[in-house]
Structure formats: C-alpha cells, structure tokens
C-alpha cells in the first residue's frame, strides 16, 4: 500500500473552501427566500463568491500533484 502525503494535504486544504462554499450558498438561499425577485442578481454574486472560495481548493489539488513525488517502493 502506497499513498502520498500530498493528497492528504489536499484533503486538509479542501476543508476551508468546503466551509466557505457552504456559507456562501447558505447566504444565497437565505437571500432568495427573503426576496425571491432578487434571485438573478444574487445568483451572479453567489457564483462569483463560490468561484473565489473554490480557487483555494483548486490550488490545493494542483500543488498536491506538483509535490506528490515518486513511489519509494518501486
């Protein structure tokens, strides 16, 4: 069995964006529930926020592969 610590690091780095994206969409749902007519405007803002939070997770996966190294056993 061989694994990479870099992938564990990616798992850790995905926690923050996961919470962040949850908060963003929670706020979006709240906003739409209170004011359904603002849906269009809120959607753009929510997706923009989602994208910015997601960037961190994407950095994580790119770096996980950059630093994944080689298999010491073979």
């Amino acid at each position: 069995m061989y694994g990479s610590l870099a992938i564990v690091g990616y798992g850790l780095s995905a926690i923050g964006p996961g919470i962040g994206i949850g908060l963003i969409f929670a706020a979006y749902i709240n906003g739409v529930a209170r004011q359904p007519e603002a849906r269009g405007m809120l959607q753009t803002i929510a997706i923009l926020g989602f994208v910015l939070a997601e960037a961190l997770a994407i950095f994580g996966i790119a770096l996980a592969f950059v630093f994944s190294g080689t298999n010491p056993n073979g």
Partner: protein
C-alpha cells in the same frame, strides 16, 4: 482509453491512475507531438463553426430549431454575462470574445464525457493558458487605452484611504491584477477538468479491475463503484457547464473592472 494503465494493472494488482494518463501523443513524440487533446481541440473548433453556420444560415424572424439554440446561447452570453457585468455602454465590443470563450470552453469540456472522445481538452494546462493569455492582453490593453498608464494603475487603490496603507493596498491590488487573477482563472478551469477526469478514470478502471480480476467480494463491491462512476459522470456534466459559465463570467468581470471608472 487508458491503455498504459490497463497494461500495468494486468501485471501486478491495480495501479491508480495519475497525471500520466493525460499524456497521449498520437503522432510523433516529445514537445512537438500531435496529441489527443490537440486533435480534440481542432475538432471542437470545426464543430463550433459548423454548428454556428448551420444555425445562422437561413435567418428567419420566427426561428427554426437550430437558430433557436444558437440564439439562446448567444443571447445568454450577450445579455446575462456581457451586458449585465460590463455594462450597457461598452459591452458590445467584447461579446465576440466572450462568446468564443463560452462556446470553446463548453464544447471542449463536454468532450470530456461524450463518447468516444472522452477527453476534456482543458485538462492540459496549455489550453486554458492560451485562452487566458488572450484575455490577459485584452483586459490590460483596453484598460490602458481607456484610462492611460497613470490612471489605470492609480485607479487600483480605492479613494479615501489613510495615506499610510495606500502603498500596501496598491501592491496587493497590483499583485491581484497582474498575477493572481490570470493564474486563478487558468488553474480553476484546468484543475476542475483535470480532477474530474481523474476521478472518472479512477472509478471506471477501478470497477473494471474489480469485475475482471477481483474475487467474489471485490465483484460485489464493484457494483456500487460502477454506479458511482455513472453518478460522477452526471456530476461532471454539471461541472462542465458551470465551468464554462464561470470562465466567461470571470473574463467579463476582469474586463469590467479594467474599464470601470473608479475602483
């Protein structure tokens, strides 16, 4: 279609796919090889041209089916992306660029799940990078032309800040505009397609290994694995649409902020 992977797994156990599955030269080898994504990309360009020509050949006031699809895609990019984000004053110049981004990214992403192509071109970083270079030049050049050098870079700092932190904010904003924005938009598209495709390959080849080489226990576990592969394919389809939308939206946002009068 991951032949080296299957050959490796037949010998000793299952080898999980890694980034090497994306390197698939078809003609030649080394840096100038014609690879599978290059051909898929060319195919996507031909397909987009053919679809757009077919959709706009006989324009009618009451649109036919093809014209309706093309008009819906164009209208979406023009109205809900370009006009709403850049503003009604000068969005028209950027509609062709944004529409190109949207269609190109969307079709190339969809190739990731459409058999028999099943290769998301954007999972090779060169392709999103080339699109971003175009975008990068565009938004800096239109910004510089509109405002001139001093106002373009001076406008990065919001007015009314205490004098002490102005240099700090300026450096941060400069870093954001010059480095972080293009890097994140490229890596986002690349990373999503790369990771998504890797997950699909992992589940599908994993299920294949379990069914063919595994014992009874592994064969039973293979059933949820193949169901999961199906579910994740649908999820990928969703992500592919979303990423095309997100890329175009961010492109429009960058252009808008380069053109905006104040911070």
């Amino acid at each position: 279609m991951s032949l080296p992977l299957l050959a490796a797994s037949a010998e000793h156990g299952y080898t999980a796919p890694d980034q090497s599955i994306f390197w698939q030269p078809l003609i030649g080898s080394g840096a100038f090889a014609i690879t599978r994504p290059a051909i898929v990309f060319a195919l996507s360009a031909v397909l987009i041209i053919a679809l757009l020509l077919a959709g706009t050949k006989r324009l009618a006031v009451v649109p036919g089916k093809k014209q309706m699809v093309v008009e819906a895609a164009y209208g979406f990019v023009r109205n809900s992306l370009a006009r709403d984000i850049i503003g009604s004053k000068d969005f028209r110049r950027f509609v062709p660029l944004l529409f190109t981004f949207f269609t190109l990214v969307l079709v190339n992403n969809l190739f990731g799940v459409i058999p028999p192509i099943q290769y998301p071109t954007m999972s090779r970083i060169a392709f999103p990078l080339a699109l971003t270079v175009l975008l990068y030049l565009t938004y800096h050049i239109v910004g510089l032309r509109r405002k001139g050098f001093a106002r373009y870079f001076g406008g990065l700092v919001p007015p009314g800040l205490p004098k002490l932190i102005v240099p700090l904010v300026f450096l941060l904003e400069l870093l954001s505009v010059v480095v972080i924005q293009p890097v994140t938009i490229t890596l986002r598209l690349f990373g999503n397609m790369f990771a998504g495709h890797l997950i699909l390959v992992l589940f599908i080849t994993g299920a294949e290994y379990m069914f063919i080489d595994g014992g009874l226990g592994l064969k039973i576990v293979g059933i949820p694995t193949i169901i999961m592969a199906f579910v994740l394919t649908l999820f990928e389809l969703f992500v592919e649409f979303l990423q095309a939308y997100v890329y175009t939206m961010l492109a429009a946002t960058f252009i808008a902020s380069a053109l905006a009068d104040e911070h």
